[in-house]
């Protein structure tokens, strides 16, 4: 909570060294623009009514992550996962396969679970992102986090943030009515430690508890 408040107060997206990083990025960007062939600059000023970014340009991006507004400037190729981990210092969301096959990077966008590794951050403009860091209320853990501890739903813990985000969505979607249904609708989250039986127990327990998620 304390960290959330600090970020809110600042309304910036800094962590140590960010100013220096920005300077370096901007100065190299200027160099890049100076050597950019004219047709690329022209392409960037295209006549389309909507925002466009050229090859050497950054795209403005406003998103809300865990209740904090961010006004950023990013390369179009930046995935939501890399943006969160490398620019917003939110490393709770894990990079597993980076190809949409493991579910470790699962986050919620406007309440729906998606894979942040296959989401280009520019497409999240104006939307609300929730990550594992946004679940707890201060020191009070989210019911799904509590349940994963209670049922021992992990060993190494690497897939856990993705499992928890997915588990919450699974219940919200109404697909946690039996163990079989939970298994089917959690199949996008791989756990190489094999904690599956306890993950299913944790989700079934939260569902039974009737918590408002």
């Amino acid at each position: 909570m304390a960290q959330k408040k600090r970020l809110n107060d600042q309304q910036t997206d800094c962590y140590p060294n960010q100013a220096r990083r920005d300077f370096l990025k901007q100065s190299s960007l200027l160099t890049a623009l100076a050597v950019t062939p004219p047709f690329l600059v022209k392409a960037a000023e295209s006549e389309f009514d909507e925002k466009a970014a050229g090859y050497f340009e950054k795209m403005p991006l406003s998103i809300e992550v865990n209740g904090v507004n961010h006004n950023l400037s990013i390369e179009p190729r930046t995935t939501l996962l890399d943006l969160m981990r490398e620019q917003l210092a939110l490393t709770g969301t894990k990079k597993g396969c980076d190809h949409g096959q493991c579910g470790a990077c699962t986050v919620h966008i406007n309440g729906y679970r998606v894979l942040s590794c296959l989401t280009l951050a520019v497409t999240v403009e104006g939307k609300k992102v929730t990550t594992i860091e946004g679940l707890a209320d201060g020191d009070k853990l989210h019911p799904m986090q509590e349940a994963f501890i209670k049922h021992d739903g992990f060993q190494c813990g690497y897939c856990t943030p993705g499992q928890i985000m997915s588990g919450i969505a699974c219940i919200r979607e109404g697909h946690a009515n039996s163990d079989d249904e939970i298994r089917e609708y959690m199949s996008g989250n791989i756990c190489r430690c094999g904690a599956y039986p306890n993950i299913v127990k944790a989700i079934a327990d939260v569902k039974k508890g009737g918590h408002k998620l």
Partner: protein, 327 residues
């Protein structure tokens, strides 16, 4: 990932113009396949035209057709009340594909446009006529366990990976597209194509043609249906063989039937001969077996995928048994 220009459009006209104007540009919808292919260096567009803001997400009834917007999410379609009531086969097929997270991202149009998961296509260091015409087919004499048994050519033996499309071809769907030369309607059967000498072309769309919607005509195929997907694990894997079966059953008699197979060809594989054979016949295992034998005419294995020659007819019979509750 190699960087690219990015532009966001809000009308179909701007979307089409942007692609027609720039040969190295591609549309971006859900991105679940394209972004992955770009990370691997398999596809390297110089510009992405983001079409996610186009008003193409609606699912509605128009006369005696169900019309589904091209940008409707796979999860939204699978869970939609109208779809579940009138075209439940489509809902089943969608739920059998990918994972809940991917279905929340992937769109109907994008699902049809997804590329094969052939490992030779996916690896830029390997020969592949689909990725780079003229380099040869690595799978033909290579690792071809996942590959086609119908309609392949010596240029390409890849399969189309979509589950949704197997249901759509069975349901006599029509694809609505718009492009630089105006609007066009493509019967789903003619949307995807066989590899022939041009495996780089997955479908019959012209450059600049955008999928706007799919249309499914009303039918009486919402009761006795099944989508059976056989794969290496119970969920979240591509099909080795899948079968979409929908039967209009009157007592024991098959009044109407639709059958299509996935994981077996470069396009969703409709089984017309088997359908014609079954119409008017009794729903029984013996008849299902005969239909399956007809369906397998012309099938050919390439080594590692020879098991599909047995798996495919067995899957068809099982799907029919489950759909009808007979045999």
């Amino acid at each position: 990932m190699i960087n690219f220009d990015y532009v966001r459009v809000s009308t179909t006209k701007a979307a089409v113009d942007a692609i027609v104007k720039d040969n190295a540009a591609l549309w971006l919808a859900g991105g679940t396949n394209l972004v992955d292919l770009m990370k691997k260096g398999v596809m390297t567009p110089q510009k992405l035209v983001d079409i996610n803001n186009l008003p193409l997400k609606e699912i509605k009834k128009e006369g005696n057709k169900l019309v589904i917007g091209a940008l409707a999410l796979n999860s939204a379609v699978a869970d939609n009340e109208l779809v579940r009531k009138e075209q439940p086969l489509l809902s089943l097929a969608l739920q059998a594909g990918a994972s809940a997270q991917l279905r929340n991202m992937a769109t109907v149009g994008g699902n049809m446009m997804q590329r094969t998961r052939c490992p030779y296509f996916y690896n830029p260091d390997m020969p592949c006529n689909k990725r780079q015409p003229g380099t040869g087919c690595g799978a033909l004499k290579g690792f071809n366990r996942m590959h086609a048994i119908f309609g392949a050519s010596d240029k390409c033996i890849a399969v189309h990976p979509s589950d949704m499309s197997i249901a759509l071809v069975a349901l006599d769907c029509t694809v609505l597209v718009t492009g630089p030369k105006g609007d066009r309607r493509i019967p789903f059967e003619n949307f995807h194509r066989l590899p022939g000498d041009l495996p780089q072309k997955d479908n019959t769309l012209e450059r600049g043609e955008l999928i706007v919607a799919v249309e499914i005509p009303d039918n009486k195929l919402n009761k006795n249906i099944h989508y059976l997907k056989v794969r290496d694990r119970a969920s979240y894997a591509f099909a080795l063989v899948s079968v979409a079966a929908a039967v209009d059953l009157q007592g024991d008699t098959i009044k109407d039937v639709r059958l299509a197979m996935g994981g077996v060809a470069h396009k969703p594989w409709r089984l017309m001969e088997a359908e014609i054979f079954l119409k008017g016949k009794r729903a029984s295992e013996a008849n299902f077996r005969q239909a399956a034998a007809l369906a397998m005419k012309g099938a050919k294995g390439f080594g590692h995928n020879n098991f599909k020659l047995k798996l495919a007819p067995n899957t068809l019979v099982e799907a029919l048994k489950t759909a009808t509750g007979k045999g």
